[in-house]
Symmetry: C2
Subunit: 405 residues, 2 copies
Amino acid sequence: VIEAQRLWDTILETAQIGGTPKGGICRLTLTDVDKQVRDWFKRQCEALGCTVTVDAVGNMFALRPGKRNDIDPIGIGSHLDTQPTGGKFDGVLGVLGGLEVLRTLNDAGYETNAPLLLINWTNEEGSRFAPAMLGSGVHAGVFDQEYADSRLDRQGIRFADAIETISYRGNVEAGSTKLGALFELHIEQGPILEAEGKKIGVVTGVQGMRWYEVNLTGQEAHTGSTPMDLRRNALLGAARVIEQVDNIAHKHPPGVGTVGLLELTPNSRNVIPGHVFFAIDFRHPEDSALARMEENLFPAIDRIAAELGLQADIKKVWDSPAVRFDASCIAAVRAGAVKSGLETRDIVSGAGHDAAYIARVAPSTMIFVPCAGGLSHNEAESTALEECAAGTQVLLNAILEYDQQ
Amino acid sequence: VIEAQRLWDTILETAQIGGTPKGGICRLTLTDVDKQVRDWFKRQCEALGCTVTVDAVGNMFALRPGKRNDIDPIGIGSHLDTQPTGGKFDGVLGVLGGLEVLRTLNDAGYETNAPLLLINWTNEEGSRFAPAMLGSGVHAGVFDQEYADSRLDRQGIRFADAIETISYRGNVEAGSTKLGALFELHIEQGPILEAEGKKIGVVTGVQGMRWYEVNLTGQEAHTGSTPMDLRRNALLGAARVIEQVDNIAHKHPPGVGTVGLLELTPNSRNVIPGHVFFAIDFRHPEDSALARMEENLFPAIDRIAAELGLQADIKKVWDSPAVRFDASCIAAVRAGAVKSGLETRDIVSGAGHDAAYIARVAPSTMIFVPCAGGLSHNEAESTALEECAAGTQVLLNAILEYDQQ
Ligand SMILES: NC(=O)NCCC(=O)O
Ligand SMILES: NC(=O)NCCC(=O)O
């Protein structure tokens, strides 16, 4: 049985690294605070007798040997990076829950058949560098090393330079670390479990998601002396696209659509914006519906640009199809919940997760626990001690179950 | 007669200070490049035998004595600060045209009756610190010193600290420098003169203008796992307000309305924006119509906020009523244009200008010259050598005309 209080104390301890006054965490990937939490994680794993390796995109692997070291290890993991105004649980719970699993096994002197591999994936959030799940994506062969290295943050810093700056470019080739399976514990980040009073979500898959970048170019001009009918206002164009993104999502339930990032130039009160850059996030559990949303989006942007005399440039920067998780991993989670007498609900993840990419190269699944009000990517994100503990216990149970097969 | 080439060379010389690769100028008020151009201006004026004083908001006054030093000086001036992506003429022409007037008079050994006072007003643009025309506004008693000192730029730097940093807090009390009149030469920044083929605009007044700041607060949440009907998306609210601002302006011709500045939090691709700050610029030649635009705006924002579950906070941060310039100053400009055989057109300024505030404390007017395509607040802003020269000649003529009265 895992130690709930030890898990909780560990969560609160690391929440200090990049902690915000509002009780959240701002720990963007490959920043100085990310380095601090990585160093901490390495020390904790080594204290448990694990060997820690790092690959060329910064993914961290802590190996706990099993009885049979000829078979591929069972992976446990998630990510320690956060959003700029992130909470204390998103990603963190999956890594620290995994750490608690290893601590529990060590305390019990329990030796698994397969080795266990506790993982911290790089840049899951996709906030500093797009796209999301970059480290697990490279591991799964979705992206290559060069692609990852070339990503730029909004200040123009390359991923390759950021990783060198914090000295987390490891000497292990990305993707070369083999996994026999992967179990990822995570908060739901949505409202379903809480609404239905279920403590454990058995995650059967992840919805499809696509990201776009749009550049609208008009003409900078004086707000006072430029008549309304002579304007080419890029921000007015962006406003109309934002409305259409919302519209298209509403027309394709349960699809969602959002503009979360937007930058305008020159951003001065008395200058008609000449240029706007923004990013669109579209998601749907069915790839065909996601394709239809895209088919609605492109002509809408072109029409709006034509209306306002703007030049539009649209790029699809990420396309992550819907994922179905592995049946035997799912069965192990279900059995693990039964063992602890916890009620479950099958659920499809609305958020992207590292397990969604790893599912391409190894049997994978996830365990969800509720979060208050379904709120995530928010400093007020909150999951109770008992809920974190229940999820971590199911994680331990599921791994032992899978290890027996 | 003024020396056109000397004027032009001077314009190109100072355009290097804060010059941009696209041929514009980025010389925000009270920055290091603003200090450089101020130092340059002081040296040029002193080389002509003028005495340069600086007041407590950084307004610079270069005095050329006249025959009668018991009467208030005739002011000539505009501003040397620019937008972040500003052109080479906006404001600059009025100061350097004035410098050319003084050089011409010196060369001719001409002594005016009244002293002449060449002025560079602080923070006319209002881009770094809102509102615009802050230096002339304090001079005219519209704002007080404390108000000016308390203005914050978007990085949170106080006007008071910025002015100390570049050592341009002068020892003259703001508003204490008396003016007998003010003549401001400026580019039109709009399309009318060019469209009608007129070289000189006789500016009879300035339209009314109001600035607002809006804060919309919703809730940050995950873009993937938050259902559409549970969102409180502050950027969607801002998009709807931007559309309404455009709408209201179109319904009140020839009024104009623009959102030029907008900032969102946390500005991350996969976070529903929890907060958006933006600024609205409304203008109309008639104060009563401007009031009606405002009456349309406030309920529209409240309705949009209610629709989306947002909290809205609206502040009017600037209210500059429509201005009528002084008849005798206008007559002097008209006579000055006739003397040079130049066709004129009466025009109301769409942009705000220092003369609009100075008109409250001294007889004032302006002279406009065309700019290509009516384009301003744009690095491509362009006025030909001959046009700059014609405006400067009319400025000289008007001053001598006014000085004879
Ligand atoms: N779990 C999570 O928040 N992942 C970030 C990637 C995304 O879903 O936008
Ligand atoms: N002339 C000019 O561009 N002034 C700036 C103030 C304004 O009109 O917005």
